[in-house]
């Protein structure tokens, strides 16, 4: 069976890095959707060289919002499998096949990438021993999430379950949100070891630097969403 696989790449001011990712993706059999989240750099120019679907947020709405836009679009286009990816090259395009494998060949509905299943990612000390375990605890206590990786942006799911994990968190809290919804709806899930390259930018605990939110902002969004619901 020939499945329509859509790879969603939210991008905010990644003109310098997104080219390499798209270059790698161009030889793979996926439909690539780039959601430009109101970038002020040359992203649109760079994309001209690649055959991708290009969606643009007129103003910056955050990574979660951009992923949802791409996902909604892919559903409209009749996607069978939707992959969430990253523009800055922190994930390996060669691992996409690995992450969609369980969806194609097993009774699995959603697959999460994990940094803690064998493959070595270079995670810094603070993140490894304090931040991620804390995120892990928050996820478990508040949302009943039991994955080994509390915050991983590399995931894939069948379009049939997309409605159940609709993203409402515009910012970085969408990671935990999707996990929480997958567990609430008792989706058949699986974790697959993936590599994460921390060669360039990352998130900081306190300050948000240009792209993305800080860890504390994510925590605030998550807890706030618990209160007002």
């Amino acid at each position: 069976m020939n499945m329509k696989i859509f790879v969603i790449i939210p991008s905010f001011n990644e003109a310098e890095r997104i080219g390499r990712v798209l270059e790698e993706l161009s030889i793979l059999p996926y439909q690539v959707v780039v959601v430009d989240d109101g970038s002020s750099d040359q992203t649109a120019e760079v994309l001209k060289n690649y055959s991708v679907d290009y969606l643009r947020h007129k103003i910056n709405r955050g990574q979660g919002a951009a992923l949802r836009t791409g996902t909604d679009y892919a559903l409209e286009q009749g996607a069978d499998i939707i992959v969430h990816f990253d523009a800055d090259g922190q994930f390996l395009t060669t691992e996409i096949e690995k992450i969609i494998y369980p969806l194609k060949n097993q009774e699995i509905e959603i697959v999460f990438g994990s940094r803690f299943l064998g493959i070595k990612s270079e995670i810094n000390f603070l993140k490894k021993f304090f931040i991620l375990p804390f995120a892990h605890l928050v996820n478990f206590l508040f949302f009943g999430i039991r994955t080994t990786d509390p915050q991983n942006g590399f995931r894939a799911f069948k379009s049939s379950v997309a409605k159940k994990i609709q993203i409402e968190q515009d910012g970085g809290a969408h990671c935990s949100e999707i996990l929480a919804k997958a567990f609430q709806n008792k989706l058949k899930w699986k974790e697959v070891p993936v590599t994460v390259l921390y060669n360039r930018f990352g998130q900081s605990v306190f300050a948000s630097r240009g792209r993305g939110q800080s860890g504390l902002q994510i925590l605030r969004d998550l807890l706030f969403s618990k209160i007002i619901k």
């Binding site: 959601v35 679907d53 290009y54 969606l55 947020h57 007129k58 836009t69 409209e76 007002i228």
Partner: protein, 109 residues
Amino acid sequence: MWLQILITIFIVLILAKVFRQWRQERTTLFVFLSWSFLWLAILLVFWVPEITSYLANFLGVGRGADLIIYLSIVVIFYLIFKIFIRLNKTDRQITKLVREDAINNAEKR
């Protein structure tokens, strides 16, 4: 005395504004009456400060001034919460608009 006169002028101006808004049907009667009541109460407190003490004693709070501060804090927190919720909603609406626009204008390359 001067403070009281100043505050009175200030409150009369506010009441006039609230009244105008109601006449021009920009607010409901309920909103108009609530604001009027609030500002008239403030006016009363400035001219007859003793009444806050009666009220405070009645409610079991030491002084009238303390009561006002307690009430103010409650009201302020409530308003902040309302604004918070409202902002959240506005944010979501903006995202929805931006998303619809992005999907409608998707370019295939």
